[in-house]
Symmetry: D2
Amino acid sequence: MADQLREYCGLFGIHNHPNAARNVFLGLYALQHRGQEGAGIVSADGVRTYGHHGMGLVSQIYNPESLGKLHGSLAIGHNRYSTTGQPTLTNIQPLLVDCKIGKMALAHNGNLVNALEKRKEMEQDGSIFATTMDSEVILHLIARSQEPRVEDMIVDAVRQVNGAYSLLLMTKDRLMGARDPLGLRPLCVGRLGESVILTSESCALDIIGAEYVRDVKPGELVVVDERGITSIQAEESTAQAKCIFEFIYFSRPDSIVFGENVDKVRRKLGVVLARNHPVSAEVVIAVPDSSNTSSLGFAQESGIPFELGLIRNHYVGRTFIQPEQSLRDGDVRVKFNPVRGILNRKRVVVVDDSIVRGSTMKKLVRMLRKTGVKEVHLRICSPPIRFPCFYGIDMPERRELIASFQSVGEIQEYLNVDSLEYLSMEDLRSVVDDPENFCYACFNGQYQVPLSTPLRKAVFEETAA
Amino acid sequence: MADQLREYCGLFGIHNHPNAARNVFLGLYALQHRGQEGAGIVSADGVRTYGHHGMGLVSQIYNPESLGKLHGSLAIGHNRYSTTGQPTLTNIQPLLVDCKIGKMALAHNGNLVNALEKRKEMEQDGSIFATTMDSEVILHLIARSQEPRVEDMIVDAVRQVNGAYSLLLMTKDRLMGARDPLGLRPLCVGRLGESVILTSESCALDIIGAEYVRDVKPGELVVVDERGITSIQAEESTAQAKCIFEFIYFSRPDSIVFGENVDKVRRKLGVVLARNHPVSAEVVIAVPDSSNTSSLGFAQESGIPFELGLIRNHYVGRTFIQPEQSLRDGDVRVKFNPVRGILNRKRVVVVDDSIVRGSTMKKLVRMLRKTGVKEVHLRICSPPIRFPCFYGIDMPERRELIASFQSVGEIQEYLNVDSLEYLSMEDLRSVVDDPENFCYACFNGQYQVPLSTPLRKAVFEETAA
Amino acid sequence: MADQLREYCGLFGIHNHPNAARNVFLGLYALQHRGQEGAGIVSADGVRTYGHHGMGLVSQIYNPESLGKLHGSLAIGHNRYSTTGQPTLTNIQPLLVDCKIGKMALAHNGNLVNALEKRKEMEQDGSIFATTMDSEVILHLIARSQEPRVEDMIVDAVRQVNGAYSLLLMTKDRLMGARDPLGLRPLCVGRLGESVILTSESCALDIIGAEYVRDVKPGELVVVDERGITSIQAEESTAQAKCIFEFIYFSRPDSIVFGENVDKVRRKLGVVLARNHPVSAEVVIAVPDSSNTSSLGFAQESGIPFELGLIRNHYVGRTFIQPEQSLRDGDVRVKFNPVRGILNRKRVVVVDDSIVRGSTMKKLVRMLRKTGVKEVHLRICSPPIRFPCFYGIDMPERRELIASFQSVGEIQEYLNVDSLEYLSMEDLRSVVDDPENFCYACFNGQYQVPLSTPLRKAVFEETAA
Amino acid sequence: MADQLREYCGLFGIHNHPNAARNVFLGLYALQHRGQEGAGIVSADGVRTYGHHGMGLVSQIYNPESLGKLHGSLAIGHNRYSTTGQPTLTNIQPLLVDCKIGKMALAHNGNLVNALEKRKEMEQDGSIFATTMDSEVILHLIARSQEPRVEDMIVDAVRQVNGAYSLLLMTKDRLMGARDPLGLRPLCVGRLGESVILTSESCALDIIGAEYVRDVKPGELVVVDERGITSIQAEESTAQAKCIFEFIYFSRPDSIVFGENVDKVRRKLGVVLARNHPVSAEVVIAVPDSSNTSSLGFAQESGIPFELGLIRNHYVGRTFIQPEQSLRDGDVRVKFNPVRGILNRKRVVVVDDSIVRGSTMKKLVRMLRKTGVKEVHLRICSPPIRFPCFYGIDMPERRELIASFQSVGEIQEYLNVDSLEYLSMEDLRSVVDDPENFCYACFNGQYQVPLSTPLRKAVFEETAA
């Protein structure tokens, strides 16, 4: 039920394609799950730049006419759910500015932990900020760099920011991509004929028929221009901290992310969960669609049949209208409908990716019980979420995370389920090949980018109070 | 791949609820799969009527403000995909008119085979028609009836029309529902406290927490007013011809339709298919989402594991932008993405509900082969579609239906699959309890409502030519 | 200050022009003053008809794309301010229906006094009504006529309705126009090369470079088709009752209406007013723009200089936001601003076309006094309005017309003006050549189309009570 | 016919009013003639700032809901027609940024002649620019100032820019206004109870019932905060160069601008023109509405009667649809219609404010001649426009100005008028009290702010070539 968490963006850039903007559109369309609040595309034809941004879904923002005005063979795009900055048109990326190197556009996935500090410094030094997004800080740092070459200006800038960032940068004739030294957010390189693509997930390569080449490496700056791809190690990367939640929830199962098939990893989550937290039941169901793959893994390992016990309404848009107050599970009912023939009088395993606040799961359980489910056994494909993320996932505050103040037993009681089991940290680490290279801060509070003192206090002392 | 077929509507009406329009909105939202072209709601407060119609999805058309203007405790609504009438705002139902009984609104699911003839008759007799929809004919017939009571006027009218019709009718204080004597299209009765609901599928009852009571019977007129529910047998029903395609494709699996759980019937389609058309393979996949349930049935019966081999992009809206021409499977790729880890180098059973033109399936197979699938075994949960439907399903003309001019062997070759098996008529009949009560005209050409001579000629002589 | 009165439409139809719809657009644009609520255009290419309607100003509703879809060399259009029917898209004319003669479109300027009665009759006889407009009655009467020829069907229909009507009618290849036997509303014939135009005012001919030919005669039906113009005397016209308010306020001064130059008649209003109600003053000002012409007449006759003492804001749109309550003349101030240099310390004659409720004029006077005007002498180019109009002008009810319950002396006191003079009936009649052929019912209550008993009671007994 | 010239903005700011944004809306509405391309309002409540910008007319951009979100007692607004920067939402003012003094908003009327140079300097020094407007330079200069107090930072900034600027500036609790030392563009101070207003023309004070206090002086910075109004002489003003075109065309006649009644000055233009360029004619007409006032002056001085010979269509919006090509005066005909009764067979004086390209006037004359005018005597209320403006008026390039390459005799022949007379420079100077304090550069090329070398070359050498 991690749809209470929102990642804030999908990135897609392409160099040297006659229909650059159209391909960015398709890429953003494939990455729509990474941000539904708004989107933007900036293109360039070697001389001028063109832009079109809007609020809403990619398919609502663009049409053949608006795409037709985005000339040129170079373009970058961004799907946004905001973590910093209000949801206004001004805050939709890519940001496009003029500076001493001419036009420059930026799209950013992640969250900087020292953005405010850098912003204040630069304001004191005479800078003005046009948006409320942390990403604007990077543009200022680039523009202020004393280095003579654009790529060195960028190296200069990214060395000054801390936190999570996968970046796309564009001048009037170059496409560049960078990842933070811990590699918190994904970014990969693809190829389609003579065109080079940089994007968040490989499913965006598939939609245009491009092939996956490799990941941008942590700390790497990739420069794509008429001479081809140049790799610069912008920052030293001594340790990695890839976001494990990309496998648990965010990425599409048909993507390659961090060099691995998401489907394969996600399925293992279910398999390990079944192995270590078995239960006697008649049916395994997923909370669609995020836990479909792990549920199949659970079913196969446990031998309990997988069934489509919940039907998801995909025409969601905005479900602003709720059923009557009296229907206490109303907002869940708008999204899911139980299939009585499958669930009635059954002992059911419900597999979900995670529990955030717990309130939605409570309603789901209530709805299942009304449908006649005899026993509900909840299996969660992650450890309890106890800490907020500061690297680009929009989470509630710590005090709203149910596992930060309740034990598993208390949560089980609150949710009114017959059994509740989370994946252990150990089990979670077992599903990837290089567990030491991942970030688990939302589970264990071990933040690999040091938090500022006020943040640290807010996180670690608030629940003590 | 029956998304080339479109049913043209979902119906939802409610009587005696303080938030009538809001509940109709939720019902239409649950029935969105039955029509995405436009929607309308008409409400009444016992004195005046109120209406709001629009093009697009229900969640795009309505907001709290527009729903707030739909006063009263009585309302009906309609989701439309047009079969007759152009897609303009004028043609969005419910139709609302004045006649001798005052305000009257109508929403119609189905298709009348003698509408044009009746329309011409009434035009000759001085009537004017404001829309191009066949449904308007019913309103005229009601208004012209000499019967003194409203319910008898309706009986009078429905006896004069032939074809498929599930109807909702509304005056300023009464809700009425009717089904044609063959019962071609579904309509059921639900209850929520003191409120009575009439709707196409029971999933629309679930979303507001209402319970399913029973189906409106073929030939029955149900009248709901302050005295409760009155049943009138408007037309003699000597035989039934329920649309078997509601089970194969149209209805949601979580619905009760024609008194049966769709999920249960749909699963049997897969089971029987596996039993009678076995194949040696490593993986069973569905073409999501319409064949998910039957694929599970196939997997369970065959013992071949069910996998999520195709990921569907649910943010579809309008996929007006296609990938490059060179990508010959482009329009399928926008909708589905194959999961390479699951499919590569595998022998795969693909289960789908039906084949209409065949062109989309051909592209899907091409995409699967590019992904590395070793063998593609296609299993179809219905017999070959050889004849168009005249009862409310929007189908291509007969000459576009691939099975009308090609043998199964030829289709297999065209699609480039390693094996292709359709469900037999006998097997199809075996999945329902009362096979004699269904319409199979699209498979066998046995139309239970006689076709007009020109229609008959068009259908049965065109391919001979 | 007759902007509290609204006429409900402008008509423009053209036959045999390659860009028919574009010319209708321009004609409606020139007639925008006759209705700003919405507009519609229906065109025909001899086989099919096309339509586009919308709410708002003509220039907001149409663009090259929407006009480009209105194919054909025949088109009619309508600007609307509603007198009957709610302001919804359904109620925007031209109405377009199917009937026994095929497609038929209607646009109507005027108001039928027996529409409700006819509607009820036809409802009893089985007709349904799709709109709430009186104009729909005419379509029904045409469709029901037993006459064999279209033109005779129309004659049949117009003979059955009473009241005010200038009509445009269109089939797929013919343009027709009709005027009621009293000739209450204007309609004229124009010509542009081989094209024939029917429209409300000649200013709509000027904009496309067409020439004025003649008025459609009271009771005449004009039929325009490939054989040219045919005239049929549909109804006997024994007396005329042309609306005198077209000269006082509605028509543009640059138009020919009822065969006369509006400018010439309107100027005479001011001249006669000055001659018979002289005053000693330093400045004559108009309430722009409706009384500009008559004010010039007043100034020339009186010898008092004409000045632009009030500046009108033409970007009005919707003045939904009023200045602070404390500014008691706020809503007038949004529309007009006084020029202090002209008005301060002066004795001023204010010329206006009419007084309806009096409330707006009261605010205008208050604003003028604040500006420093020493004396305000109000001169009105019409007699006191004491009776509502039932022939197509949207007026307040009788009890809201200030002159229906207050004497001129009382009104002068209420408005706080130093003198107030209205034009006398005799003077009004003197400005036109054939005064016996005009309707003065709003001044003297002599309705030339008999009112129904309830209407008559409502008008003549309400203030007695 | 100066509607080919466009000024680029109207300014309105108010301090200490409970409905600040609503009053800004009304002020912008009264100033709509100064810019119809877009508008913006920024407000502040002492803590936060709020903004709403849009394209189009003020009344289209704002409604009670959007205004309701603009909280606080302080607000500034801007009507825009762009001179620099493309017409996109990003380029709509007021600009709102963060800098070391917190939130800061700017609205600018005028044009800076050294903006590009300053911009390049600051880009080299590490600044980034988010818009393409010259106004953004001022914000950067303020943010970079080393002065400790906000007002001194602004003084610092305005001393570095050259050209025309009337500015409104706003922090979260202060309203400030500044004018360039030559006073090229207007800005005045008004008062409404305890509220202080800064705005372009006094007509915007009238609409909210505020009184005109005085002009902001050339070179003055006015600071309005809780202590009242503070005046700072930011820049020395040794000479003035007020734009004479504000009197000839831009300002509303009901405004006080540069301390004088526009009406009074504009009327003198007509009087002097009549005195020094008399003609024998029967009628004087204006090209409405800009030359109404001067035409009256001409008529009064000459004794020739003033008539409303051209009717202007005020519903203009976008006149994208032109009449047929064959109608060579089509685009003029859409805007104006001649009144034949007044003009036919007459000798007519046409008074207009100026001639820019001459092409529109040529069409107007052609239309008048078609209407039957016997003689056309054109009288222009300004000298020939020979030079472009660099101080905020959007003019065609020099080579498009007809008077830059044709003599008066040649222009008379081109326009096909019987006589043509312009106002002389001497006469123009005679209509104001302090002629030495005005800018006449568009007539005589004497630019009072030195032009950059490339500009100077472009202006003075292009026609020589």
